[in-house]
């Protein structure tokens, strides 16, 4: 019985939701008008503008020379010295950051779902890192990881785990780890909240039924929890992937892209193109390329979610 098809057990078939009456388009658009106005103003123009920039030569130290250059800027990006290395840096970061967030989120959600006093304390505590600006996370962790007077080093040293302070942010590999840790600290709580909500939608009867059938906790987890949680996991996973891929604030505050460009993620170079190399066309082209990749990810997300809903 615990083998009930999860989809059937959980979701009632989609009932008719609209309470349709004829000729309501007027009401509809009236109620949507303010929202649409705001959204249109802030989305149509920016896209057009970015496209324009990306197709022209716009270098600030050459202000009188702005010809149409077609896809030259995109070509510049694809042949830039930083494309490969920053993609590698971004991938390395994401490999740690995304699973880190998911694991943290899942563990926290499972803990929070338990009925014991600790869960209540945790419930309040877990909102704190997420409720703070991302830059705070960067500031705090940069200080914690400081190689000369950071408290993390101090603690590890006094516990005898290390014999010398580790200069976390001065070593490329460790700097990436440090960045990922700060990221998990900040983003993990949101994942936890979503996953907790997902956990709470699983009917308790399923677990009771499983217990009656003699299934152990682990079996129940594998056969009930994970399948039913899957849609939520997918949702969180894709959101967190996008967030990790476009991380910028954290890099800026914690490492400035260093050491040796180890933490110069791809979005960092979109910034550098404009502010350090003064090449606005290439900067816009890079931003566009990033946006296109993200669009692909989001389309994937919508597809997966829709197919989940149909189950």
């Amino acid at each position: 019985m615990a083998e009930l098809r999860a989809g059937e057990a959980r979701r009632p078939s989609r009932r008719r939701s609209e309470t349709a009456t004829r000729g309501e388009s007027g009401y509809a658009y009236l109620t949507l008008l303010p929202v649409l106005l705001i959204m249109a103003a802030f989305s149509l123009y920016p896209i057009g503008y970015s496209v324009y920039l990306s197709l022209h030569k716009e270098v600030l130290t050459d202000p009188l020379n702005n010809p149409f250059v077609g896809f030259q800027n995109f070509d510049n990006v694809l042949h830039s010295y930083y494309l490969t290395s920053s993609l590698v840096s971004t991938a390395a970061f994401m490999v740690m950051a995304v699973p880190g967030v998911m694991i943290f989120g899942l563990l926290a959600a499972l803990l929070l779902n338990e009925a014991f006093a600790g869960a209540r304390i945790l419930r309040v505590a877990i909102l704190l890192p997420w409720a703070m600006p991302a830059v705070v996370s960067g500031i705090v962790w940069r200080w914690l990881l400081n190689g000369d007077y950071g408290v993390l080093n101090s603690a590890l040293y006094q516990l005898g785990i290390i014999h010398d302070y580790i200069p976390w942010l001065s070593q490329p590999a460790l700097a990436r780890v440090g960045l990922a840790v700060a990221h998990v600290w900040r983003e993990g709580p949101l994942a936890a909240i979503f996953l907790l909500a997902g956990l709470q939608t699983i009917p308790a009867d399923l677990y009771s039924a499983a217990a009656v059938d003699g299934a152990g906790r682990l079996a129940a987890f594998r056969r009930i929890t994970m399948p039913l949680l899957r849609p939520t996991i997918v949702l969180v996973l894709i959101y967190e992937t996008i967030v990790a891929a476009t991380t910028f604030d954290l890099v800026y505050v914690m490492t400035g892209g260093g050491p040796a460009d180890a933490t110069s993620l791809i979005s960092w170079f979109a910034y550098a193109e404009v502010f350090k190399f003064l090449d606005l066309g290439t900067g816009a082209a890079l931003a566009f390329l990033i946006a296109l990749v993200l669009l692909g990810v989001i389309v994937l997300y919508l597809r997966v979610l829709r197919s989940e809903e149909r189950r």
């Binding site: 600030l60 130290t61 200069p167 550098a272 404009v274």
Partner: protein
């Protein structure tokens, strides 16, 4: 032109697309960019107004002193009001790029020799001869590296705010404890002394250097180390790279640094340390040797700075020639200021004379104040003979040593409009070499290739 005018211009069709883009573009992709976007709400940037509001932008050093100087100036010159804005030094370049591109009203701002060519080529700064020929007449009293740092295409673009050198500083107490009587005169000696100091447990990492990727000083530190060696050059007279030749001073410098990291006499945290953290670390006694701007010797020896206050001494840069980098930070006149009303331009003259010229015939009291109170160097040769200045300098340093360092100082090489872009690339490339992620030769080759491609345009 203010932002409102820009946008109004394009919506009414008077301003060309390109003109608008130039103005509105490059705004805020990041923190520094955003901070830069100061609007013209309070300051009057439009020509033809009778208010004389000058917008003065600086990086955040000695802000209370600057504000006080402004107050004195405003009391002296009636009708003048100065709008003052400051931004962190490490963000300054990017912040100003956004400001200039958006034509946010800026009349006078700090500049550094790193960026002069870039900003002048972009048309953001204007040579002094254009509206301030009288201010152009002081160059005979400047050191050569000062003149070089403020010149672009043969024209002078600034009045020195301060000019200084990069100095080799050491903690005298540490040396005494280690039984060393004289500071090192070569890099090999530095290595040796560091090993002694480390072995005796006086400092875990005797050397610390400010090599943070985001500190504009990091390229200057490296360059000063290169200059100190024989054939210490980065470029030849035609601005072709010479640092990538086998056995070059640059290669030797990189090798020394990566060797120092491996043998653990150079603090690995150097790669992420900016100026202030290095100063703080030195003050706490964690390290013995460093290379910092000369005025930081004043900072280190200030009473109350820490347990070693007063014990920091300067020695010539170790090496063969003992040359070092001299740099100038200056007051720059923006293109915008020159386009304003002649009455405003006149106020600009009052401002510049007061802050860095010769108001009332004698060298500006502001310059002297920076020297006496903060130990900042200056571009005026004659000020070295001033009794007050000498007295003030001798409380924290040796005026003769300071003078000597000034004479050993050379301007950075390769100061062109693409130097800043090359600098960004180079800082990270150098770090890769220090960390031995790439070989010294590979790094220098990459730096040369980057230079050549930028030069080609």
């Amino acid at each position: 032109m203010s932002i409102e005018t820009l946008v109004e211009g394009v919506t009414t069709g008077r301003l060309s697309r390109r003109g608008f883009l130039q103005g509105a573009v490059a705004l805020g992709l990041s923190m520094s960019g955003a901070v830069a976007l100061l609007e013209a709400c309070t300051s009057s940037g439009t020509p033809g107004t009778s208010k004389a509001d000058l917008t003065f932008v600086v990086w955040s050093y000695g802000v209370e002193t600057i504000k006080d100087n402004i107050k004195k100036l405003e009391a002296k010159v009636s009708g003048l009001h100065v709008n003052f804005q400051d931004f962190a030094w490490t963000n300054y370049h990017d912040t100003m790029v956004a400001r200039f591109a958006a034509k946010t009203p800026t009349d006078v701002c700090y500049g550094s020799d790193h960026w002069l060519s870039e900003w002048a080529a972009a048309g953001w700064l204007s040579p002094l001869e254009q509206k301030y020929p009288d201010l152009n007449g002081y160059t005979s009293d400047y050191f050569p590296y000062v003149i070089q740092g403020m010149t672009y295409q043969g024209k002078n673009y600034g009045i020195p705010y301060y000019a200084d050198t990069w100095a080799f500083l050491y903690n005298e107490d540490h040396l005494k404890k280690a039984g060393i009587s004289q500071p090192p005169t070569t890099w090999a000696e530095l290595t040796q002394q560091s090993q002694q100091i480390k072995a005796k447990g006086i400092a875990n990492y005797p050397v610390i250097l400010l090599f943070a990727q985001d500190d504009p000083g990091s390229i200057e530190v490296w360059t000063s180390m290169v200059f100190s060696l024989t054939d210490g050059h980065l470029f030849d007279d035609s601005l072709n790279p010479v640092f990538n030749r086998p056995g070059s001073a640059a290669a030797k410098t990189i090798d020394w640094i990566s060797g120092a990291l491996t043998s653990k006499i150079l603090d690995p945290a150097s790669l992420t340390s900016q100026e202030i953290p290095v100063v703080k670390a030195m003050e706490s006694g964690a390290h013995t040797f460093t290379i910092l701007e000369t005025y930081n010797q004043a900072e280190l020896n200030k009473s109350g700075s820490g347990p070693f206050s007063g014990k920091f001494k300067m020695a010539p840069m170790p090496g063969d020639t003992h040359n070092t980098v001299g740099y100038v930070r200056f007051y720059a006149v923006t293109d915008q200021l020159t386009k304003r009303d002649s009455s405003v331009v006149k106020f600009g003259d009052d401002f510049l004379q007061y802050f860095g010229g010769k108001p009332d015939g004698a060298i500006s009291p502001v310059v002297k104040r920076w020297a006496v109170e903060n130990g900042l160097g200056f571009g005026w040769k004659s000020l070295w003979d001033d009794a007050d200045v000498r007295k003030a300098f001798s409380t924290w340093g040796d005026p003769d040593m300071l003078r000597q360092n000034q004479q050993l100082a050379r301007s950075k090489e390769g100061l062109t409009k693409y130097y800043p872009s090359w600098d960004v690339f180079t800082r990270s490339e150098l770090q890769k070499a220090y960390l031995k992620q790439v070989s010294t030769t590979a790094a220098l080759t990459a730096m040369a290739d980057k230079w050549n491609s930028l030069k080609k345009g």
